[in-house]
């Protein structure tokens, strides 16, 4: 029940080089796509973007421990990296950011970063913060009723933990020992509101104590620690031992969204200092040190991913916008108007 702190060292041994490289590649792939989204936004071609930069490690860690298409995900808007590992493509997300008809998330109906794709059991997500946690419980309950051993991932920012649905979801999942992974990506800010004004304790993992479930705090910039925490929590859930609350301490390396300017509420020094905590840089240094990745490998990987990205962007840009009257479709199954 205690809040446990997992450190990188303890679990390095258990991850093979292939997994480590795959993890790095997944993080890099998301980062490059994310950066491209910002470029499109600044070019005026994408009215909005909300970023996962700085949050990638924990998302990749969990996604790599899920069975894509079998396990379930009820993510939130920063989970770009998670969706890519589960099977969605850079093109899918570019279609969304460019508001195209073929956007698999919503057909261009929702803002980008409102993820959803039935093919990969990623449920549709809207904007209201927190609702998805209860959906995750319902998904897990349905699995329980059918006797399946699937697990359900769900995530939220620390700001979202102040809302009622967070409590109702943890209470319900813990009462019924449901196979739900509650991941809080704690970047210390809800838009401009610092954690001290949102909650009384620094660690969201403490909240687990109210429900008698494990509360795990992990350095979200430590990819290996994240992987191990994810693996443990997924195993626990899959074996019927109930939910876990995992808090990943992450950094939001951008403004809240393309509509926000964090310089209004954070000093330049603090913003600059956080860059040193970038999990991608730290992981690369770590892998080079471990001899799992050379500088050459990394550059090659990057070049290959950029190629994929350029092609995806080209295709997405060529894709059509939705037909205006299609706005009337899919209100109800029978398309009542």
């Amino acid at each position: 029940m205690a809040v446990t702190k997992t450190t990188a060292s303890r679990k390095q041994a258990t991850l093979d080089a292939e997994t480590l490289r795959a993890m790095y590649r997944n993080m890099l792939r998301s980062r490059l796509l994310d950066e491209r989204m910002w470029v499109l936004n600044r070019q005026g071609r994408a009215p909005f973007w909300i970023s996962g930069i700085g949050h990638e490690a924990v998302q990749v860690a969990f996604a790599m421990n899920l069975r894509s298409g079998e396990d379930w995900a009820a993510p939130y808007y920063r989970d770009l990296a998670l969706t890519l590992v589960l099977g969605m493509t850079p093109k899918d997300q570019l279609l969304s950011v460019l508001q195209r008809a073929d956007d698999p998330n919503s057909g261009g109906r929702q803002m980008p970063a409102h993820y959803g794709c039935r093919r990969y059991n990623i449920i549709t997500t809207g904007s209201p913060v927190g609702t998805q946690l209860l959906h995750a419980c319902g998904i897990a309950l349905a699995a329980r009723m059918r006797g399946e051993d699937t697990v359900t991932f769900t995530s939220i920012g620390e700001g979202g933990t102040s809302g009622g649905d967070f409590h109702e979801a943890l209470n319900f999942a813990a009462t019924h020992k449901l196979a739900v992974l509650f991941v809080v990506e704690n970047n210390g800010f809800a838009i401009s509101v610092p954690w001290e004004k949102q909650m009384p304790t620094r660690d969201v993992a403490d909240r687990a104590k109210a429900y008698g479930i494990p509360g795990v705090k992990v350095d979200g910039g430590d990819a290996i620690a994240c992987y191990k925490a994810a693996r443990e929590a997924v195993e626990r859930a899959r074996h019927g031992d109930g939910p876990t609350l995992i808090e990943a301490k992450v950094v939001r390396l951008t403004s809240h969204s393309s509509d926000d300017d964090q310089r209004r509420y954070r000093t330049a020094e603090v913003i600059e200092a956080e860059k040193a905590q970038d999990g991608l840089l730290r992981f690369r240094a770590q892998l080079e040190e471990l001899g799992v990745l050379t500088a050459g490998d990394a550059d090659e990987m990057r070049a290959e991913l950029l190629l994929e990205l350029d092609k995806a962007q080209e295709e997405a840009e060529a894709a059509p916008l939705p037909e205006p009257e299609s706005a009337l479709l899919h209100v109800l199954a029978e398309d009542l108007r």
Binding site: I123, T131, C137, G138, D165, H330
Partner: protein, 327 residues
């Protein structure tokens, strides 16, 4: 065919559908051993077990949110809200989530579920056990809202709701539970959602209503019949969508229109029916549209003189009908 109460008819429908379809389950406060505060789910937990008839925590957002998740994962949940008055904490899950799941995912996902709740007053329920706040949901695209008024429809519509691919709010008038009895066919049948029913034919005045008020309207219509005025009484049954054609048909035929509901009138179902008539029946109207509903007060008070003052009674309906007849 057997004669059953409105309550029994609902229970029968749920019971048969649970037997037929393993995906159907119920979640709500006190639905298990107690069988619900009115007894609608009486005996179901014994038959189907604690997982399929699940006592939930006292948390309405949880009840609906969990049902939504289960619906997305292949189930057909019934989320029971103990009183319609207590649906408010679940409004976010209903309006922001359930109603928008198909649309926002461009048809990739759907949310087939039923939210049941008793509404209405006249049972000494006071401010928070008497409300009729269905109008708030009737504005919301992506939802279906239905209210049966007879045991026949109660069963046919709960079954239809459970087979519908979209979220349905199914509101039950709590005074009807035991007061209203009627013939209920045995076995499997459905009453289509989205359609109104003419429950009494007539030529002079079209009366539109739903829930318990249909019976009140019928009572008043009977009195006018004695004086040679014939009222057509239409049970709206589906409040979202409204059956526009049925409304226009009866209103045009009669030329005079009264809308009767228990809820207060401002921005309500009665407003929408009146608006439809004003839009589509201009050429056939012989009198102003009239509405009769609860007063514009926050809810139905407890003390008998106050509660009675609130209620839309057959007398009040009759008076309105005579005004219209005389116009």
């Amino acid at each position: 065919m057997a004669t059953k109460t409105y309550l029994e008819a609902i229970r029968d429908g749920i019971h048969e559908e649970m037997q037929r379809d393993e995906r159907v389950f119920i979640m709500g406060e006190d639905v298990g051993a107690k069988g619900g505060v009115f007894g609608v789910t009486d005996g179901l937990q014994k038959e189907f077990g604690e997982l399929r008839v699940m006592d939930s925590p006292l948390a309405e957002s949880c009840i609906v949110g969990v049902a939504i998740g289960a619906a997305m994962n292949g189930m057909r949940p019934i989320a029971e809200i103990q009183f319609q008055d207590f649906i408010m904490p679940a409004v976010d899950q209903i309006v922001s989530e359930a109603a928008k799941i198909r649309y926002r995912s461009n048809n990739d996902w759907s949310c087939p579920m039923v939210i049941r709740a008793p509404f209405g007053g006249g049972v000494h329920g006071a401010l928070y056990h008497s409300q009729s706040i269905e109008a708030m949901f009737c504005h919301v695209p992506g939802l279906r809202v239905v209210v049966p008024s007879t045991p026949h429809d109660a069963k046919g519509m709960i079954v239809a709701a459970l087979r519908d691919p979209d979220p349905v709010l199914y509101f039950e008038h709590k005074r009807a539970y035991r007061a209203i009895k009627g013939e209920v066919p045995d076995g499997d049948y459905t009453v289509p959602l989205g359609s109104a029913a003419v429950v009494r034919e007539g030529d002079d005045i079209a009366v539109f209503s739903y829930g318990m008020m249909v019976h009140t309207a019928l009572e008043a219509a009977e009195k006018l019949a004695a004086d040679g005025f014939s009222c057509e009484v239409v049970d709206l049954r589906s409040l979202r969508p409204l059956d526009r054609e049925a409304i226009v048909r009866s209103a045009s035929k009669c030329g005079k229109v009264l809308i009767v509901q228990e809820a207060n009138l401002a921005v309500s179902v009665a407003s929408e029916v009146a608006a439809i008539v004003a839009e589509d029946c201009f050429d056939s109207l012989d009198a102003p549209v009239m509405r009769l509903g609860g007063p514009e007060i926050p809810a139905m008070p407890y003390s008998p003189p106050l509660e009675h003052y609130y209620l839309v009674t057959p007398d009040k309906v009759e008076r309105k009908l005579r005004d219209l007849a005389a116009y």
